[in-house]
């Protein structure tokens, strides 16, 4: 058996020997597993949360992309989806939720309001959560369509497969 460093791609083995042995690196296996079992923590506050619900529901069905295990507990999730307007009263809550999530963790900023304040340039609204949180993927739109959210989740999955570190990671988790 050769010690060729094969890649596992899209969840399917690329090389099979007689004994059904796959050779790869441990990182790749870990990333592959991690990528296909993202547990999102939906921080839905406003209109975008409705579109997020639509994404999870029957027509769009996010579970086709391996991240349907919505967890409302930050302790059990690794993908924070900030969808909606974040006010100055809400920001400490969001920050605390993010801090409670175990590493490695990714953040999607869904919609114009979370990304930059959107049309609400007012005294109470955070003009972009990236001032306080490291955001990995931004989704434009007010609100973004469900396809956009699916795309963003897949974007995160691609980053994970490539072994890129999340923006907010303090330690290189793959070492």
């Amino acid at each position: 058996m050769g010690l060729a460093n094969t890649h596992i791609q899209s969840g399917a083995s690329t090389e099979q020997t007689d004994g059904n042995i796959i050779t790869t690196t441990i990182d790749k296996v870990v990333n592959w597993g991690r990528k296909n079992s993202l547990w999102p923590m939906p921080f839905g506050t406003a209109c975008c949360a409705i579109e997020m619900m639509a994404t999870l529901a029957s027509k769009f069905d996010l579970s086709r992309f391996g991240s349907e295990a919505i967890r409302f507990s930050p302790r059990q999730s690794d993908l924070l989806i900030v969808s909606g307007r974040i006010s100055i009263k809400m920001m400490p809550v969001l920050k605390r939720i993010y801090d409670q999530m175990p590493d490695p963790k990714w953040v999607i900023s869904m919609g114009a309001c979370a990304s930059c304040g959107g049309v609400f340039d007012t005294y109470t609204l955070i003009q972009g959560v990236d001032q306080f949180l490291p955001v990995d993927v931004y989704i434009p739109g007010c609100p973004p369509r469900p396809e956009d959210l699916i795309d963003a989740v897949m974007q995160v999955q691609r980053q994970i497969q490539k072994g890129e570190l999340p923006k907010g990671s303090e330690v290189a988790y793959n070492e």
């Binding site: 406003a46 209109c47 579109e51 619900m53 529901a57 909606g84 307007r85 809550v93 369509r145």
Partner: protein, 398 residues
């Protein structure tokens, strides 16, 4: 042996429910004081989604503000668009053409369906009935596609303008809408079979979170929550606006004012809304879809590109301080939004921007009355009651 089991310990426990809790839909927070499992005191906290809509109204002109109203009750943006422009039109003293009134009724009733459907899905989901969520979203997606074809957006529709709507219904609208209202009652039956006589659903909602009609009025409850207590008050009937007096529909009422009655009232309202949509389609008049006064409505695009007057009117409407300018004064206008009385109180100083816009959100009152419905109940009822009220943080906190 004691007739009632001694469950209480005499020790108080404080439970912080929300703001990030699946059943609070993101932004509501209730601090519960518990003795064992019974609720001694509930203190709701609002403001986690405060966005400054009212302040923004003092800085945007009348047509720009329509965009903001979309994001108020994001389950049914078209109702908010409708309520707001109606207030401005009444302040201006204009009446829109019959066809426009009918189009608005159509869109308002379809969005009432969309609102109640989402409420149904999430309220059932909170109590563990996941399939209802999928069923109601299946129907909602059909409505979304009608909205998208009409307005260009699924959710943030911004369809109305002061003096009309920004474009006419699309060609296949009647077929799509008729298709929806014929199939929808059948689809709703599925939910009825799943929930209405379901032992678990009834146990969780019957007699839970009840409120008397007197208290409901005292707390300012409106809409399905008030009607569930037996008060047959519907602004569409009491103060008919925009041709609602030409529609025949019933106002469903409950008897006990509990979560189960609120559920039944909403279920029946959906059927009534289907009836209104059918009538509006039958009698949809021809004619212009907005007022033809070009000082209020933008002229047609071809007019703006082809004629100098059209171009001037187009310019004046979008230019600061030359658009819609209601006379000095104030006006309060209420409409029956899916959640209850949605009111806009507008103070005008005669300029193109409102001096003050006050929004009277129905959810604000429902959330306020929550302790009254919760106290003395069990902690698990919190989810059922909160779900049955359909508190929308966007309009609660504005």
């Amino acid at each position: 042996m004691q007739g009632k089991m001694e469950r209480t310990t005499g020790e108080k426990m404080v439970l912080n429910f929300g703001p990030q809790h699946p059943a609070t839909h993101g932004t509501l927070r209730i601090v519960l004081e518990l003795d064992g499992e019974s609720i001694l005191k509930a203190t709701p906290h609002a403001g986690y989604l405060h966005t400054g809509f009212e302040k923004l109204g003092e800085h945007l002109d009348y047509n720009q503000y329509i965009v903001v109203t979309d994001r108020m009750n994001y389950l049914s943006p078209l109702s908010n668009n409708f309520g707001y422009v109606l207030a401005v039109e009444q302040l201006l003293g204009i009446e829109v053409p019959k066809r426009c009134q009918y189009i608005r009724i159509l869109m308002a009733e379809l969005s009432r369906l969309a609102d109640h459907l989402l409420w149904l899905g999430t309220a059932a989901l909170d109590l563990g009935a996941f399939s209802v969520f999928l069923y109601s979203f299946r129907e909602r997606e059909k409505l979304y596609s009608i909205f998208e074809k009409t307005t260009g957006a699924r959710l943030t529709t911004s369809y109305t303008r002061v003096g009309g709507v920004f474009r006419d219904l699309y060609d296949g609208f009647e077929t799509d809408a008729r298709d929806f209202i014929t199939n929808f009652p059948k689809a709703l039956k599925e939910t009825h079979t799943l929930l209405t006589r379901n032992r678990i659903w009834m146990d969780r909602t019957k007699g839970v979170g009840a409120i008397s009609p007197e208290d409901a009025i005292n707390y300012g409850l409106t809409g399905p929550c008030l009607r569930a207590t037996g008060v047959a008050h519907d602004i569409r009937k009491a103060e008919p606006y925009s041709s609602y007096d030409e529609m025949k529909f019933d106002v469903p009422v409950g008897t006990n004012g509990d979560a189960y009655d609120r559920y039944l009232v909403r279920m029946e309202e959906m059927i009534q809304s289907c009836g209104i949509v059918g009538q509006a389609l039958d009698n949809l008049p021809d004619g212009p879809f907005s007022v033809e006064d070009n000082k209020i409505m933008m002229p047609d695009k071809s007019d703006a590109y082809g004629h100098i007057e059209g171009l001037i009117h187009h310019f004046k409407i979008v230019m600061d301080g030359h658009g819609v300018q209601p006379p000095t004064g104030d006006h309060y206008c209420a409409t029956e939004s899916p959640n209850g009385e949605l009111g806009f109180y507008i103070v005008s100083d005669g300029s193109g921007t409102a001096y003050r816009i006050r929004i009277r959100p129905p959810s604000f009152f429902h959330f306020q009355a929550l302790p009254h419905m919760l106290e003395g109940g069990m902690v698990s009822d919190t989810v059922a009651v909160l779900g049955s009220l359909n508190v929308i943080a966007g309009e609660l906190d504005r």
